[in-house]
């Protein structure tokens, strides 16, 4: 439950349609065919669940850039889940396709395979093969060490949505901790809003012109490992990653019509990182650290802070959480990341009622550019199987170098109604 702030995302824009790479379809199909014989097994079962939703975004201000839609946008999505197990659940397949329709932005009309994995569970080890998602980290306002999956940038500005990543993932659980080993064949390009979309950079990102440092392009085999362990009140994780940077460098270029655009360039990186949480009574202390070596000088970045919770405030069942985090990037104003010297303050109100009512509010303040963004998320259950959310986001910033300045006319209110099945 993050209080993600718009700054943690690259807002630039895109041009052509996001296609699920052929490579991934081919692999998914191969996997499905491989699994087919198992369908006949005796003790198997198929379970279906999922969610669908509609979303309305309202923008009180006229757009900053030509081509962007005005006032309102309607969108809808569906994300079913299929689970099939056999061998007394020692083997199972999970399939989560995803489809979004958007009224104005063609780039946001897209589909993805969020997950299609075959899992096998042994004694103290497990292997997950296929397309999947993996989360690393402890912080709330920026996910600095969450490395494996590409951000699905058209979904939302909070960077929480990820594209399915092809992988073979071996996990070993031992007395000395959990060791996760990843082979990541095939790369997913980041998605960016199209020319019609709001919440983008001034120049759209032409994803058709994606370029790579590696001669293997989007077929480079990336490798990663993470060790994690709980030691009393402390949960620690150490990771290493070598491969294609999920965060593209955006370079100036022109599209086929000669119009100026940004083109994504994906370099090869080597990365080490750490995440640590101390859970001490009412306090959660969090720290994420990352060292990354790419084409430019290697650099450090960190995100750290705390979450303090007041339980049962004013003799009610309501819990009030107070969050403070600081994000830093050694490159300073030259950082390609949005967070380089930023302070975040958040509050989380959980009513603990039958409707699961919650309110999260967060402010991000950039100490270099003096810009800020504010986000309020409120949600509750409606009857059984429905959930309503209200999101408010406000942006300020007038320094052209500050990526958030591109969003300064994109304040909006978002209403979402979701149906679970």
């Amino acid at each position: 439950m993050a209080v993600p702030l718009p700054k943690s995302v690259t807002p630039p824009a895109g041009s052509s349609c996001d296609r699920i790479p052929k490579l991934i379809f081919a692999r998914a199909l191969t996997l499905a065919l491989l699994l087919f014989p198992a369908v006949g097994a005796a003790d198997n079962r198929l379970e279906t669940s999922g969610k669908a939703g509609i979303e309305l975004r309202l923008f009180p201000q006229s757009p900053q850039f030509a081509g962007q839609y005005d006032t309102a946008n309607l969108s809808g999505f569906i994300e079913p889940q299929f689970f099939y197990s056999w061998n007394d659940e020692a083997d199972y397949v999970k399939f989560i396709p995803y489809l979004r329709w958007d009224q104005h932005d063609r780039e946001r009309r897209h589909g993805d395979i969020r997950q299609l994995t075959w899992s096998h569970v042994g004694e103290g080890w497990e292997v997950h093969s296929g397309i999947s998602k993996v989360f690393w980290g402890v912080a709330e306002f920026q996910h600095l060490v969450d490395t494996i999956n590409q951000t699905d940038g058209v979904e939302d500005v909070d960077g929480e949505d990820k594209l399915g990543q092809p992988m073979v993932h071996l996990s070993l659980a031992r007395s000395w901790g959990i060791l996760d080993l990843f082979a990541l064949p095939g790369f997913r390009e980041r998605t960016f809003p199209g020319a019609d979309g709001r919440l983008r950079s001034g120049l759209v990102v032409d994803t058709d012109q994606a370029a790579y440092e590696s001669a293997a392009g989007d077929s480079h085999l990336d490798l990663a490992a993470r060790w994690s362990r709980t030691l009393g009140d402390y949960d620690i994780g150490l990771h290493w990653f070598r491969g294609t940077n999920r965060e593209p460098l955006l370079r100036a270029g022109t599209d086929t019509g000669g119009n100026p655009v940004l083109t994504p360039y994906y370099e090869q990186i080597n990365q080490f990182g750490m995440d640590l949480q101390a859970t001490l009574d009412d306090w959660l202390w969090k720290l994420e650290l990352r060292w990354r070596d790419g084409q430019d000088d290697p650099f450090w970045a960190l995100q750290g802070g705390f979450e303090y919770t007041l339980y049962g405030i004013a003799e009610s069942d309501t819990d009030l959480g107070l969050l403070l985090e600081y994000g830093w990037d050694e490159r300073g104003r030259d950082a390609t990341a949005q967070v380089q010297n930023d302070l975040f303050f958040g509050t989380r109100l959980v009513l603990n009622d039958a409707d699961g009512s919650e309110l999260l509010a967060g402010i991000g303040y950039d100490l270099d550019y003096h810009s800020h963004s504010l986000q309020v998320e409120a949600s509750r259950r409606l009857g059984s199987g429905w959930k309503a959310s209200l999101d408010l986001r406000l942006f300020s910033g007038d320094e052209a170098n500050d990526p958030i300045s591109a969003l300064r006319r994109d304040d909006h209110l978002q209403l979402t109604l979701e149906r679970y099945f």
Binding site: F135, E160, I178, W283, G312, N352, D353, Y420
Partner: protein
């Protein structure tokens, strides 16, 4: 009555009062002994799986449903380990909760959020908070350990025709939402039949009734129903247990972050 007889009566009364102390335990000792016996009779079950359904009712009679599956593993000299998976409400379907409870001190707890594929270590400080919006607090559902309370035997009493010991329990943990609990254990099997909870102001908060006890493995009693009524709000929660299964061969390896992420 002649005046000179009075001291003699006082002496006799004083002796009557002191007598039980001379050859019997104090109310505190007796209360603790009853709790210890109930724990002793429920030791050695090893591992357990069960399904739980909760029906939440508000004052207007509106209902809300929760469905949960639970695995627990007994620990010899510590609180139990448990893994809980939420099926309903549907918006939290697949959310899972791993807990290593401890007799004293904070429990270790992790929550798995399936949409983000994120495991979060959470604070176990909110013992008094409502469990999934129900009238059960987290502390009402955690494993019973002798060190968690101080005790005082109150009286013998029948409820629904069953002979019970009535013992008052005072939480040791300052974060408990209660000043005391009054617990009815039946004399025959030392099963909990009823608990009355008194809030931090020492006002009666809620009553929890256990019913439909069945014996498993020829030894361990488990209720089919637990009904709690909040006297201050008029809300109630009906908890139904089904599918109790013992001897599933669970071990510590089934209670780690990997099994939490896999839980379903």
């Amino acid at each position: 009555m002649p005046l000179r007889m009075i001291p003699g009566i006082f002496l006799a009364l004083a002796l009557l009062a002191v007598q039980p102390l001379l050859h019997a335990e104090t109310a505190e000792q007796k209360g603790r002994a009853i709790a210890a016996e109930s724990i002793a009779r429920d030791s050695g079950w090893g591992d357990m799986e069960a399904d739980m359904q909760m029906i939440l009712r508000n004052q207007q009679g509106e209902e809300s449903l929760r469905e949960i599956r639970m695995q627990s593993l007994e620990q010899a000299n510590d609180g139990d380990k448990s893994l809980t998976v939420f099926d309903k409400p549907l918006d939290v379907n697949g959310t899972a909760f791993l807990s290593f409870s401890h007799a004293l001190g904070a429990d270790d707890q992790w929550l798995y959020l399936p949409a983000l594929k994120r495991v979060k270590r959470i604070s176990s400080r909110n013992k008094s908070g409502p469990f999934m919006g129900s009238e059960f607090a987290y502390e009402d559902l955690s494993s019973f350990e002798i060190e968690k309370y101080n005790y005082k035997y109150l009286r013998d009493e029948q409820i629904s025709g069953v002979d019970c010991f009535v013992v008052e329990q005072y939480p040791v943990d300052k974060n408990s939402g209660y000043t005391r609990r009054v617990v009815w254990n039946d004399k025959a099997e030392y099963r909990v039949q009823r608990i009355e909870f008194y809030d931090r102001k020492n006002s009666l908060l809620k009553t929890l009734d256990y019913s439909g006890y069945r014996q498993y493995l020829g030894k361990y009693w488990r209720p089919d129903r637990m009904d709690v009524v909040n006297h201050q709000t008029g809300k109630s929660t009906e908890l139904r247990w089904t599918n109790y299964r013992f001897g599933n061969g669970l071990s510590d390896a089934d209670f780690n972050k990997n099994s939490l992420k896999r839980a379903r």
